[in-house]
């Protein structure tokens, strides 16, 4: 059985990977403390008061840009798979779930906006907000499949790309005043909030499209 030997080899490798990772983890003392002082020195110029948001969207904004690119790329891969089946809703509408979702979905959307806004001074931000929004849209899709409104494909595609597009645009604008994606003080606050708002809508559309497009696309 070749399959069986392959599996046992896989388990063996996974076990040794686990052992190695545990060994590395026990040997980490603490993070380099010079990073901490550097971070706190730069915090007043970052435009936000929460450290994670400052690192994600100001100091290491290029990483976040590429992350958004990866998410968009995975959606393009899903589009390219061409599932040639017609999605038939599994659930049937009934009063209980309809009423429940009618109350729940506005709350989820409101909470997503709150998380987005509060990301500037506490934990939160665009990624968590977009995940919440996408979850809400998926619940809506599952419970009310027939009355679910899907915008035109062209508008949707524009929405998918808008997050990355706006991010790159901001990078280009900041190129005139310094280097790529480097902004400071008062303008940084505006840039970060606007990037996060666009990212939330765009990533929310992408993440919900993972679910909806993968099961709803019909052959043209």
């Amino acid at each position: 059985m070749r399959n069986k030997t392959f599996h046992s080899l896989l388990y063996f490798l996974a076990f040794w990977l686990f052992v190695g990772l545990s060994f590395i983890l026990t040997n980490i003392n603490t993070l380099d403390s010079s990073m901490h002082t550097k971070l706190f020195e730069a915090m007043p110029h970052s435009g936000v008061t929460h450290e994670v948001t400052a690192v994600l969207l100001n100091f290491r904004a290029l990483d976040t840009l590429l992350e958004v690119g990866v998410i968009l790329l995975s959606l393009i891969a899903i589009h390219a798979l061409e599932p040639n089946f017609r999605y038939t809703p599994l659930s049937f509408e009934n009063t209980i779930t309809n009423t429940f979702v009618a109350i729940l979905f506005p709350l989820i959307a409101l909470y997503a906006f709150y998380i987005l806004y509060s990301g500037s001074y506490q934990s939160g931000g665009a990624f968590s907000a977009s995940a919440l929004l996408a979850g809400g849209i998926i619940i809506l899709r599952l419970v009310k499949p027939r009355s679910f409104f899907v915008p035109k494909e062209l508008i949707l595609r524009f929405l998918y790309v808008s997050g990355l597009f706006y991010f790159v645009c901001v990078g280009m604008i900041s190129l005139f005043f310094g280097s790529f994606l480097e902004y400071r003080d008062y303008i940084a606050s505006f840039y970060i909030i606007s990037i996060e708002s666009v990212l939330m809508l765009s990533l929310g559309a992408i993440l919900s499209a993972y679910f909806i497009n993968a099961v709803q696309r019909v052959k043209p």
């Binding site: 934990s123 939160g124 968590s128 995940a131 996408a134």
Partner: protein, 82 residues
């Protein structure tokens, strides 16, 4: 607090083991969703609240829904082994 941390760690390892070795795929998916939620609790214990939120919404919610939909579709087209 140490008790809670140990409990979370043991639970995570056990759930990971169950996900890998359960023969029934539906069972494995349910374990995966629970794994995501416990992992979110672990993130909260580590002080990373934004990660915990993203883990709940993405790891447990969206991935779980996608996997459940996939297994329903596979059963519908007659791949009972899937």
């Amino acid at each position: 607090m140490l008790l809670i941390d140990t409990l979370l760690l043991v639970l995570l390892l056990w759930l990971g083991f169950k996900i890998t070795f359960t023969k029934d795929h539906f069972n494995a998916i349910i374990h995966f969703i629970v794994f995501g939620m416990i992992l979110a609790l672990a993130w909260v214990r580590l002080g990373a609240f934004d990660l915990a939120l993203a883990e709940i919404a993405l790891g447990a919610g969206i991935t779980g829904a996608l996997l459940l939909d996939t297994i329903t579709f596979l059963k519908k087209i007659g791949r009972e082994d899937a």
